[in-house]
């Protein structure tokens, strides 16, 4: 156990530990964050959604994007799995289909960071997944 020897020490420790609580911290205020919901029903998982989600979480961390990842059930676009919904604060949610690791990167760098549209958008016919 390393002792905290100064305020700087403590701050460094907090820095290191903070990511452990990220999931909770972000959940407290999801409206201000990028929310990414990944369809993770049987069809989604079979199509590789789980791997994509893990990849995307790591990538988002690397890019410094404050995003909340949640899993959700089947969105009904089984033909386009893996699918995910991205909601950037202040914008309507967009659903992407056929997301693999490359497309996931693109979604993050182009759509989330720069607001450019990316291929694979599925037109929405509902308000949000929750309802």
């Amino acid at each position: 156990m390393t002792k905290v020897k100064s305020l700087a020490d403590l701050k460094a420790m907090r820095e290191k530990l903070q990511s452990n609580l990220d999931i909770r911290e972000k959940a407290e205020n999801p409206e201000s964050l990028v929310q990414i919901k990944i369809a993770m029903a049987t069809c989604g998982i079979a199509a590789g959604a789980k791997k994509v989600m893990e990849h995307m979480m790591t990538k988002a961390d690397e890019l410094g994007i404050a995003a909340v990842f949640t899993q959700t059930g089947c969105m009904g676009y089984c033909h386009a799995e893996p699918t995910l919904e991205v909601r950037v604060p202040g914008k309507d949610p967009i659903v992407f289909g056929h997301v693999d690791n490359n497309r996931a990167d693109e979604i993050l760098t182009k759509y989330v960071q720069n607001g450019e549209l990316v291929e694979g958008i599925i037109p929405v016919n509902y308000e949000t997944i929750d309802k």
């Binding site: 305020l7 701050k11 907090r14 452990n20 029903a41 059930g73």
Partner: protein
Amino acid sequence: MAKYKMHILICGGTGCKSSNSLQIIENFKNILAEHNLTDDVQVIKTGCFGFCERGPIVKIMPDNTFYTQVKPEDARRIVEEHIIKGRKVPELLYTNPENKEHVSDSKHMDFYKKQIRIALRNCGFVDPENIEECISRGGYEALGKCLTEMTPEQVIAEMKASGLRGRGGAGFPTGLKWELCAKNKADQKYVICNADEGDPGAFMDRSILEGDPNSIVEAMAICGYAIGATKGLVYIRAEYPLAIERLKIAINQAREYGLLGTDIMGSGFDFDIELRYGAGAFVCGEETALIHSMEGQRGEPTLKPPFPAVSGYMGKPSNVNNVETFANVPVIITKGAAWFSSIGTEKSKGTKVFALAGQINNVGLIEVPMGITLREIIYEIGGGIKNGRQFKAVQTGGPSGGCLTAKHLDTAIDYDSLVAAGSMMGSGGMVVMDETSCMPAIAKFYLEFTCEESCGKCSPCRIGNKRLCEILEKITDGRGTMEDLTELRNLAAVIKDTALCGLGQTSPNPVLSTLDNFWDEYVEHVVDKKCRAGVCKKLMSYVIDREKCIGCGKCAKGCPVEAISRTEYTAPGHKLASMVIDSTKCIKCGACINNCKFGAISIH
């Protein structure tokens, strides 16, 4: 270290724990292991979420799903449906009583909408047994800031500027209290945390200690630095085993991390904390009584002056603050006095935690900004009165507070407005009553408590409260007279005027406030011998309607005191003579009513 994708937060506070939340935790862990999810999903036992009415509470992060009244067997559905398939379990979600809709995110629940959680900021969010979670939320940074960037005088100045007042009841300005203690030079001073929460029904201090003990440890060290004390003592009631355990863990972890002990964070400042256990006497919440109890003396108040700031524990200058007060301290240091004082009213800054109880839909622990109205608390956060009944009164401030009525519903509540209304802030008990409460009986109930809990030192409290209680008993028994009402008021006023400590000076409040606000009800008891709420048994009588009675005699068979006999009157259309109740024998147990299938018996 595993990077978890989801967190399951389960309330490990005393309330939820007694509803088997530990078994829920156990089940979650087992089921997650079955599905090989141990590395993906973290299970965290937290402190109280506050919404005790609907406990045990389970919260899923990151989608902020708030499950209520979870049973151990629900763990499987939550894992298999929500965690694996991403489908929320609707039956376990909170249902808005107004529109019957499920609400999954606690932020959208009326119970939480108006709350601002400062003292409770970490409760239900962190694992209280893991200091690292506290540190990652910025814990101990306020202490570090004080020790490395501020002088003790600056810390006190910040506290004074924040306008924080003592949350234990009296509302003395905290910064000023620290300053008074800091001024006294001594070889040893003490920081004392009053965790002797004695108000029946109040459990905010317990919840803070159970949910966020590190903040208290940190705040005590800050106080120690400010006043020049190296020793901290927590006076905690032995009936709080979980709070004691968590506090001990926090203290030990803080020592391991070098956040307590010698030369904290390289500043040269030493501070450590010990626990002292109380036996649960209400009066030991009074600071001088508390100090005597810690010294091993009889727990009774002594006269002030000398104030503890001059001569406290073992005759040394001591600063006593209550748990909730301390819980506010680190935030004030990190976010600044200006931020803190922007919340609340002119003379009462910040928030106050209330334990909401009584005839109200959402019983629980709430933290609201000073200046909120009773209406907002009762109807919005509390979800209104149970079973659609009428609001009658709300008792604030614990047993020695007063009963406020509908006319006070829109008063912005703070320390001063509550006193002006004839009640007080107290430690934050809030008991809501509907029309089924009898106010003289309520006053008697509270007086019985203060009689029990008086230390017996001063005559007005020792004997006066007993006499108040006896007069109230007379009134609720139907033996009262108008002279009794006059005597009641005079005696209550004298006790308030002459008692030695805060307990006695406030114990007549329930009497005085009910006399002021519910005078008619007292007069009814005394003159008409009636209790409109139907609470005072001796004022009730059970009557058999001889026209409805078919004379089956079932009521007489069930009567434990043989108070029912047969008359000679047979109602038209019936074959048997009707029954009658001898009111001199009747003990009003209600057995006859339950036995009568014909609705012939009623209460008057």
